[in-house]
């Protein structure tokens, strides 16, 4: 094994931070619904890709700046999330069944995406795509930098809401012990709508980042599920900053593995880290 040069290692670490930020952003909404509502929402990945395709469409056909599309997608997805929660509540979907129901929803969304945009690859050519900054010998691409910024802002925002606002405290209380929280006047049903809506809105924001940095294909919805679950479990379900930190740890570990050894070892890293964490702290997930 040859030791990598400083530039190679630095570039790999940067690449790991950027992909880790995307992991964290994709994991944030999933973590909130899992931790606060007890739902394992596989449809989160489908919503993120739906958001990515809508960003692509609004930018290429509608001529909007990709960042501006957030103004349409985020509120729309919030409503979608609320509607999903209404269905969950109406049919009293249990946590295990939520896995099955949301998988079904994922398949439906995949089919819709394929029928509208075909199964072929789609790439958003935005003004941001070709912008690079140079820092010493390292290159920093703008789309990935935007993803990092959005991931940090949304993770910190979610953390602050959960920690410092009455709504956030009520959400955590309801997740901890719903009957006792209800005795103190916490309306669990309305909070669930809020969490579900926020989670879907976060999926929409993650979709923007996917569209900026990735080439899209409907079947790629499933390519992210394994690693994002590892991120959420490492970060701790319901913790707002956890997915970002875990995502960056996994992303950097994978990237350094690719820079130092064979890239084919990289997928082993995320799950090895998760297994080690679960051995060290069995109650984590």
């Amino acid at each position: 094994m040859n030791l990598p040069g400083g530039t190679l290692l630095g570039q790999a670490v940067l690449s790991g931070i950027f992909i880790g930020a995307l992991y964290g952003l994709l994991g944030l909404g999933l973590s909130l619904t899992w931790g606060l509502l007890g739902q394992i929402n596989l449809a989160h990945f489908a919503l993120a890709f739906l958001g990515a395709y809508l960003t692509y469409h609004l930018a290429t056909v509608g001529g909007l700046d990709p960042l501006v599309t957030l103004a349409l997608i985020v509120p729309g997805f919030f409503v979608l999330g609320v509607a999903m929660q209404w269905l969950f509540a109406r049919f009293r979907v249990s946590p295990l069944n939520s896995l099955l129901v949301t998988f079904g929803f994922t398949v439906i969304v995949e089919t819709v995406i394929q029928s509208v945009w075909t199964a072929d690859f789609r790439r958003l050519e935005s003004a941001y795509a070709s912008v690079n900054f140079r820092v010493g010998t390292l290159f920093v691409p703008l789309p990935e930098l935007l993803t990092l910024g959005i991931a940090i802002a949304l993770s910190l925002g979610a953390w602050a809401v959960l920690r410092y606002t009455d709504i956030g405290r009520a959400m955590r209380a309801a997740a901890e012990d719903a009957p006792i929280a209800a005795a103190f006047g916490v309306d669990e049903r309305r909070l669930a709508y809020l969490v579900s809506g926020a989670s879907a809105a976060l999926a929409g924001a993650a979709g923007l980042c996917l569209a900026l940095s990735q080439t899209l294909a409907p079947a790629q919805i499933y390519a992210w599920i394994g690693v994002i679950f590892a991120v959420v479990m490492m970060g701790g379900p319901g913790r707002a900053l956890g997915p970002l930190v875990a995502g960056i740890v996994i992303g950097v570990s994978e990237a350094v593995t690719m820079a130092v050894t064979a890239p084919s070892w990289a997928p082993v890293v995320s799950f090895s880290l998760l297994i080690l964490l679960l051995i060290a702290r069995p109650g984590r997930a």
Binding site: G16, A219, V227, M258, P263, P267
Partner: protein, 401 residues
């Protein structure tokens, strides 16, 4: 014959001609010949699966517009295997035992074809297929490949490619080989390593990644650090574009780069893929388009692909191999006047079939014939064949930056 009789005769003749629609062919009649197949119409391979569906529909329409097969109309039953080889196996079983199709046609992609081949073997069915990537795994005596790789493409094609580069003004002295572990490209990359070694091209980097890799940044950084004269990328589908994008982000363009099986549309449209090389059996330019049937097919395919919303409507390897498969089936049935799988298979083993991408024979190891893979290059936003010279686009030469 009196005047009235002459008028009646003329009228009947005119009506008969009108009913025939002025066609030189009699309309097919009788029980339809049913041909069954599966395709990846959903799932990760669906983008290319759609291409094969359009091609099959075109060919069946063309057959039925003439006099079908053996004078009977042709009905194509195509089921969605969802890009899953295990489902393809079940569906072929159903097509043969429940639908009782007369003939079967191969699915798309190596995994599904292997599954279909197992079922075909169990029922002694003829299996013509268009996209099988690992010839030495195809042992069934009644399988007939129309993607003309030859029996040892992992040796023959890298030699073709390195021949092309050796004839260029800057023959490479060093090579970096980076590859996905997707089976049909991985074995080609391993073959390229051996061929490069034998030809004295020094390997300065060899990397493998798992299919489905998400982050190409570190791989791009290692390619940049190695800075070989020639970069061989064992990529399939989108992987090639993902690596190109990652290299662009660190401001690196390889001196000369080759991609095994890229998604041709996205790559040709990428501004950073100019001069990239790839393998092909057919492109939309002479001498391939000199064949009238190819020319007619291209026109219809372009229209239908656009109507189906495909971003890339050009005929290349996939569509050409697919059309060739139908040509081979058509030729065998027409020549033998039979639908018997054994009769058709025996005829194919002894005869050659002219297709839009070349003359195919099936009398080599594992029923493979010649390696008809050519080298193409992105030049000014379009793919052109640059090697071998006899099939190069008019005026096109390999560009070495």
């Amino acid at each position: 014959m009196n005047v009235a009789t002459r008028w009646i005769t003329a009228l009947v003749t005119a009506l008969s001609l009108a009913c025939a629609g002025g066609s030189a062919f009699a309309a097919p009649s009788g029980t339809p010949i049913r041909i069954g197949s599966t395709l990846a119409l959903t799932g990760p391979l669906a983008a290319t699966g759609q291409v094969h569906k359009i091609v099959g529909e075109i060919y069946v329409d063309q057959l039925n517009a003439k006099n079908g097969l053996l004078g009977r109309p042709v009905e194509w039953i195509v089921r969605d295997d969802q890009s899953k080889p295990d489902l393809a196996r079940t569906l072929y079983e159903q097509l043969i035992t429940v639908d009782k199709v007369d003939l079967i046609m191969g699915p798309y992609a190596t995994g599904a074809i292997l599954s279909a081949m197992g079922v075909a073997q169990r029922y002694d069915k003829l299996l013509i297929h268009h996209t099988f990537g690992i010839p030495n795994m195809a042992k069934y005596e009644r399988h007939f490949p129309t993607w003309s790789l030859g029996p040892e493409p992992q040796v023959t094609f890298p030699n073709t490619l390195l021949d092309a580069l050796a004839a260029s003004p800057k023959p490479p002295k060093t090579i970096a080989i980076v590859t996905s572990k997707f089976p049909s490209v991985h074995f080609m990359s391993l073959g390229a390593r051996e061929v490069a070694k034998k030809r004295g091209v020094k390997e300065v980097l060899f990397l493998e990644w798992e299919f489905g890799n998400r982050d190409y940044g570190p791989i791009a950084a290692r390619v940049k650090e190695a800075n070989a004269d020639f970069l061989w990328v064992g990529a399939i589908g989108l992987e090639g574009n993902q690596l190109i994008e990652a290299m662009k982000k660190i401001d690196y363009t390889p001196k000369e780069q080759f991609y095994m099986y890229p998604a041709p549309g996205p790559m040709v449209k990428s501004a950073d893929a100019n001069n990239a090389l790839a393998a092909t059996i057919f492109e939309e330019h002479p001498p391939f388009t000199s064949n009238p049937q190819a020319e007619a097919f291209i026109k219809v395919f372009n229209e239908r692909a656009a109507k189906a919303g495909l971003p890339d409507t050009a005929v290349d390897t996939q569509a050409a191999a697919s059309y060739s498969a139908w040509q081979v089936l058509d030729a065998a049935v027409t020549a033998t006047k039979s639908l018997d799988d054994k009769v058709l298979a025996n005829w194919l083993k002894k005869n050659q079939v002219g297709t839009i991408h070349g003359v195919l024979r099936f009398n080599g190891p594992n029923n493979y014939g010649d390696d008809l893979m050519r080298v193409k290059q992105v030049q000014n936003g379009r793919w052109v064949v640059v090697w071998p010279k006899e099939v190069a686009a008019p005026g096109a030469k390999l560009i070495v930056p």
